[in-house]
């Protein structure tokens, strides 16, 4: 197992390096934005020269790595936050993103699983049809559509919730009731998709478990339907579901560009696109490294979690 884990981690770093290299080269190949004002163009050129952007890409890349390895320095931002360290650019925007994603998960995981269980238990009855229809709708419609609907009806028309996320200065902090209530609409918008996919997944797995032979055995040995379902069917059905939930947790650091834009969440969602549009190379690379790392690490955790949850699929386990 340890050997497998080490191998995966080494592979992860190799993949990270390849992706970084490709992204670095590609973003440097983009032409600088056109500036018609001569002095502004002159300053831009002076900055590019001063920062070594006119050197061969390979040389720039080596310098970039040297700075990371010797000083863990990913550089400064020039466009998104003038002279701000790229680490700060990301860090300052992480908390709102994490909070919203985390709340959305806490809301969607139990609801998704419960709906899935209900649908499986009432398979092919009207309850199942209602849940499945709602689930299909949630899966099919993109989250920004719910976002607009929620914002318009619950925010603007009914006035139940703030239309957009509140500011810290008006609420006194991220962990206040007022702030939380202003996050509810984006949380709901982010949750619907997750609820639907979890419900669908749970229903499918549980429905399969419920028809297994061991369920017959469980009933035969005297367990009630509820006992058999909870102790046997649900437990087995959770094996493929739990890794999905783990992956969801790993992804709470990634923001949703559209949801954050609609609800004015000062998160990381728009950072990637903005850094490309404004050619803020250092921010682009830092965001690339950050998200690639999270994505790759999440993959490893999910893969390993299968082994922990089900000894039958544990890599390297002695038979």
């Amino acid at each position: 197992m340890a050997k497998y884990v080490i191998k995966r981690i080494l592979l992860m770093f190799f993949t990270l390096f390849v992706i970084m290299t490709i992204c670095f080269v590609l973003v440097k190949l983009l032409e600088p934005n056109e500036i018609l004002d001569v002095t502004q163009a002159e300053r831009e050129e002076a900055i590019r020269e001063a920062l070594g952007y006119n050197k061969p890409i390979l040389v720039q890349y080596l310098i970039y790595w040297k700075n990371i390895l010797t000083a863990f320095d990913f550089g400064v931002s020039f466009k998104i936050e003038y002279l701000g360290s790229v680490n700060d650019v990301i860090q300052d925007r992480l908390l709102p993103t994490i909070l919203i994603n985390l709340y959305a998960l806490l809301f969607s995981v139990p609801l998704g699983i419960l709906l899935g269980i209900a649908a499986a238990l009432k398979k092919n009855r009207w309850q199942d049809h209602v849940i499945s229809t709602v689930v299909m709708m949630f899966v099919s419609v993109p989250s920004f559509v719910y976002a607009f609907i929620l914002q318009y009806f619950l925010g603007a028309k009914l006035g139940w919730f703030p239309i957009q996320m509140a500011s810290v200065s008006s609420t006194g902090g991220y962990f206040t009731w007022e702030m939380f209530s202003s996050m509810i609409l984006p949380i709901l918008a982010l949750s619907f998709g997750s609820i639907a996919s979890l419900a669908r997944f749970t229903r499918a797995e549980l429905a399969e478990s419920l028809t297994s032979d061991y369920m017959l055995l469980a009933r035969a040995k005297g367990l009630t339907v509820g006992q058999a379902t909870i102790r046997h069917a649900l437990k087995n059905a959770m094996v493929p579901i739990l890794p999905t939930i783990i992956a969801m947790f790993a992804n709470i650091l990634t923001g949703s560009l559209i949801i954050e834009k609609i609800f004015s969440v000062p998160g990381v969602g728009g950072l990637y696109i903005q850094s490309i549009q404004e050619l803020d190379y250092n921010v682009f690379m830092a965001v690339t490294v950050f998200y690639t790392f999270i994505g790759l690490a999440a993959n490893i955790i999910v893969d390993l979690s299968y082994g922990f949850l089900d000894p039958r699929i544990r890599m390297g386990a002695k038979k």
Binding site: D37, I113, G159, K235, M238, V239, Q277
Partner: protein
């Protein structure tokens, strides 16, 4: 056994999700979520500032720096709009119909003291309007109460145009009409000597080191020397400040070698921060730096002397010989002998003006190639390129030697003898002279700004300016707070930068409001700056009855739909509208429509040869775009009013590059709108062939002008047919070919998709029944950067863009289309330097005469220093309108709509006027008044019917 335990633990983990407590927890979470709406609806707390007047607005992007020296975006300038104020400001006139200047940080008008400075700053006898004395408001302070003096303005100007900072804001004072005397030289000047750090690969013997010490060439700087050779490396000081790195600086006795050297030598640094290595201190540096080399850092700093720098001559600078400079043959030969003359294909600008194309760039323009042909029909550029391009040095320059001198002379003479000769009179004007100074060494003392005393400073300009122009210029700011500015310094490569104005903590304003809260990407709050003179009764420039607003809360809302919902809920006091919102708010009493100075246009490539190159993509015919009738037909297909009202946010139709916001004599006549002049109207009437007078449909010029729509689908059909016939006859089109017109913008959008759809429908309608029916395909495409350059060089067939210009300079706007030295000239297939037209006018007050000049020459003739620069307005209008007519009648550029800004204001506030003035807009926060304070407004909003703005 262990295995069993492990499995048992994992099973427990799975059980977690199936046990009772977990189920209860899950249920509780869900219950909370369901109850939240009810709870939050009850959670309305009373506002603490009910009696204040708060203006709530939004911007879509957060400012990155509001340092007036280098902020470049609208968002960057947003904060300055409240926290800073110019020496003068522009507000609405008392009757609210036009603009008026108002004294702010200055008191009284600027005083022309040119005559007192004759013989200085290049001022000659009899000149006026070059030196201006400004008297500061004695009550002006920074927001911390520190008094602002003339010294602050002079120091801030030095920083603004500093060569080491290369601030983008310097452009106002180093180029153009407002150039300060010697500012350009100061800005461009770089040291003739530079400190080059010894890199790790270089090795020196002791003798060599000693020799350099003797020659006083070796230096060290704690604050400038990078610890490693890489770009962006920490300085030695920066590296030493990192706690984890300090271990490398410890010698055998546990002492920090950095601290040892710093305590001994840091006070010996010169003004640039470098300490000279001498016979006396060398052993000390050697001993202590050897500790670093011997540490784990030794891989990157193998030798003790790798942290030293060698003083050397700076990089060479190549200065192009200007058209005015004359050299004799002997002088040129001498320069060749001294190895001073160079030429570069890729670096030398073809003309002397700023932003000119390089020789290579110019040669790439198809329409310009004819100037490069010698008598034998050979391209002189190609001849020289083939022979000498490979001998360019690392800077891209080719040395002119005795051997190649004649070759360059012969071939460059072809250019001088061509129509370009007006701009390149001598063959050697394309050569550059090498030097090791970037510019004439100019101390800041020689720049045209100086302090007279604490409340007076003088600005000396290169050009003569009027008092109006000076006041207008001084509505801009350059003042910064020295302490925070200097504290924010850092070095990015060779550039000094400051983080001044990037957070509320490193910024100091001096305007009517100050930053009170600042939340990245979310919200900015301003409150009254109580130290501002404008609020203090009895202070100079006290503004009684103005600035009623107590607080401004600005949210960052990137999504316009969200902003509109907030506005409709009463949470914002103004909102920008889009075309989609117009159907609802078209007739709202609260809708404000303001036109900007830009005009959205489409420019076509009209060069058949270049268009043929584009056809290599096999997507369809492009050459037909070179036919004027074809372009005119497209123009006539487009109902600009429809586009403006339904596609481009309620914009007004545009029939020219110059819209209603340009004034030809703003200084003397506040109503001198160019577009309203008789000449300007006549040019558009002529363009569309509308007749007026007795017996005609339209009696007067005004009637005829007002009737123009630019839209005539029947005529368009005729022109398409004519274009088809012509194109077919001239091999520009073959029957059955699809015609593909890709129009490039920096991005695609829903708006452009609508425009694309509209154009396609209109063209299909106009071509129906002709041979071109269904053959023309229009598509808007995105090209984020370089699209203007691409069309100038004929690489693409059309672009969608807008140019804007100075409100008081309509001729400057025309210059975008006629000045060959500008990168704004993008009409490929048009040569403004050789194509001519005639103007009939009473140029000299001696009766009418007809003159013929090139487009370029006509536009220059009424620019500063031109033949008719001081002529009457009639002459200028005659030239401008003729220029405009001739440019438009080629239909290379189709103006579509005027840039328009639609705003909905809330019932909470009143703007000073609902009719925007291009200089003072709606009167701004200065003249804004309130119908409700915050408390009353909250009550007002409780009834949602009150918030109906439709």
């Amino acid at each position: 056994m262990a295995m069993r335990e492990k499995i048992f633990t994992e099973v427990k983990f799975v059980k977690l999700f199936t046990q009772k407590p977990v189920a209860v927890f899950l249920a509780a979470v869900m219950l909370c979520c369901l109850l939240l709406p009810v709870l939050t609806a009850c959670n309305k707390k009373t506002s603490e500032d009910d009696y204040l007047y708060t203006y709530r607005e939004y911007i879509s992007k957060f400012p990155t720096t509001w340092n007036t020296h280098n902020g470049t975006t609208d968002a960057d300038e947003y904060i300055q709009g409240y926290t800073e104020i110019g020496l003068y400001d522009i507000t609405l006139s008392e009757d609210r119909t036009t603009y008026a200047f108002i004294d702010e940080m200055a008191t009284g008008d600027p005083k022309d003291i040119t005559s007192a400075n004759i013989g200085k700053y290049g001022i000659a006898e009899g000149e006026t309007g070059k030196a201006w004395e400004i008297t500061l408001n004695p009550d002006a302070t920074f927001e911390d109460g520190t008094r602002i003096t003339a010294e602050d303005y002079v120091w801030s100007m030095e920083r603004l145009i500093s060569p080491e900072m290369k601030n983008s804001g310097a452009s106002t004072f180093i180029t153009g009409d407002n150039e300060l005397y010697n500012a350009r030289n100061y800005y461009s000047f770089g040291s003739t000597e530079e400190y080059f750090k010894i890199n790790a690969e270089t090795t020196y013997t002791d003798d060599e080191i000693n020799q350099m010490i003797e020659d006083e060439l070796l230096y060290f700087s704690f604050t400038k020397t990078p610890i490693f050779d890489t770009e962006g490396s920490f300085t030695v000081e920066g590296h030493h400040n990192i706690e984890s790195q300090k271990k490398y600086y410890l010698n055998e006795d546990g002492e920090d070698v950095y601290d040892i050297l710093y305590s001994k030598y840091s006070n010996q640094a010169n003004e640039l921060g470098y300490i000279l290595i001498t016979k006396e201190n060398v052993s000390d540096f050697k001993t202590n730096f050897s500790v670093l080399s011997a540490s784990a850092l030794g891989v990157l700093i193998p030798n003790w002397y790798d942290l030293l720098s060698v003083l050397q001559a700076a990089s060479p600078v190549y200065t192009k010989i200007t058209a005015e400079t004359e050299y004799t043959e002997d002088q040129l030969n001498q320069m060749v002998e001294d190895e001073l003359l160079y030429f570069s294909f890729s670096k030398t600008p073809i003309f002397d003006s700023e932003g000119s194309f390089t020789v290579e760039g110019h040669h790439n323009i198809e329409s310009q190639r004819k100037f490069y042909k010698n008598e034998a029909g050979e391209d002189v550029y190609d001849i020289l390129y083939k022979k000498y391009a490979s001998s360019a040095n690392e800077y891209g320059y080719i040395k002119i030697t005795k051997e190649n001198f004649a070759d360059f002379k012969t071939n460059f003479s072809v250019l001088s003898a061509s129509a370009l000769g007006a701009l390149i009179p001598n063959w050697y004007d394309l050569l550059s002279i090498i030097s090791y100074e970037e510019s004439v060494e100019t101390p800041f003392d020689n720049v045209g700004i100086y302090k007279k005393d604490d409340t007076h400073f003088v600005m000396v300009f290169v050009n003569s300016l009027t008092a109006w122009q000076v006041k207008y210029l001084l509505t801009d700011n350059w003042l910064v707070y020295k302490k925070y500015y200097e504290e924010g310094y850092s070095q990015q490569g060779s550039l000094t930068v400051t983080n001044y104005g990037t957070t509320s903590g490193n910024y100091m304003g001096y305007g009517p409001y100050k930053l009170s809260a600042y939340e990245k990407d979310k919200e900015i709050t301003f409150v009254r700056n109580e130290n501002w003179y404008g609020y203090k009764e009895g202070a100079t420039n006290y503004h009684a009855g103005q600035f009623q607003t107590d607080k401004i809360v600005c949210q960052i809302i990137a999504d316009q739909a969200t902003a509109l919902l907030e506005f409709e809920a009463g949470n914002l006091d103004s909102v920008k509208l889009t075309t989609n919102n117009l159907s609802k708010y078209k007739f709202s009493d609260y809708l404000l429509k303001r036109t900007a100075s830009n005009t959205w246009s489409i420019t076509f490539n009209s060069n058949a040869e270049k268009l043929k190159e584009i056809e290599k993509d096999n997507a369809g015919n492009r050459r037909i775009l070179s036919v004027t009738d074809f372009r005119k037909a497209i123009s006539l297909c487009l109902d600009r009013s429809y586009i403006g009202q339904n596609i481009l946010a309620g914009s007004a139709a545009a029939f020219s590059f110059i819209n209603e916001n340009y004034y030809y004599d703003i200084e003397n006549d506040a109503n001198s709108i160019y577009r309203n002049s008789e000449q300007a109207k006549q040019s558009i009437v002529n363009l569309y062939g509308v007749e007026y007078g007795e017996g005609k449909t339209y009696k007067t010029l005004d009637e005829a002008y007002r009737a123009i729509t630019g839209y005539d689908i029947d005529s368009a059909k005729e022109y398409f047919t004519q274009a088809y016939t012509y194109a077919k006859a001239n091999g520009l089109y073959t029957d059955g070919e699809t015609i593909k017109i890709n129009i490039y913008n920096n991005a695609t959008s829903a708006q452009l998709s609508s425009l694309e759809q509209y154009m396609q429908t209109q063209i299909d309608t106009a071509t129906k029944g002709t041979f071109l029916s269904g053959k023309i395909k229009v598509e808007f495409k995105a090209q984020q950067s370089g699209r203007l350059e691409s069309i100038a060089q004929g690489q693409i067939e059309a672009v969608y863009y807008s140019y804007s210009g100075d409100y008081n300079d309509p001729n400057g706007m025309l210059g975008n289309f006629t000045d060959a030295s500008k990168t704004t000239l993008i009409e490929c297939g048009f040569d403004p330097t050789t194509e001519t037209f005639e103007v009939t006018c009473d140029f000299k007050g001696e009766g009418e005469e007809t003159l013929s000049k090139s487009y370029y020459d006509w536009q220059k003739s009424i620019s500063a220093g031109g033949t008719y620069a001081n002529a009457s307005n009639e002459v200028k209008l005659a030239i401008m309108s003729a220029l405009e007519f001739n440019l438009l009648s080629a239909f290379r550029t189709l103006p579509l709509c005027v840039g328009t800004d639609l705003t909905l204001r809330s019932k909470k506030v009143n703007y000073a006027t609902d009719t925007s003035n291009i200089f003072a807009m709606y009167g701004g926060v200065r003249l804004m008044t309130y119908n409700y304070n915050n408390g009353d407004w909250n009550n007002f909003c409780k009834d949602k019917n009150n918030l109906n703005y439709a």
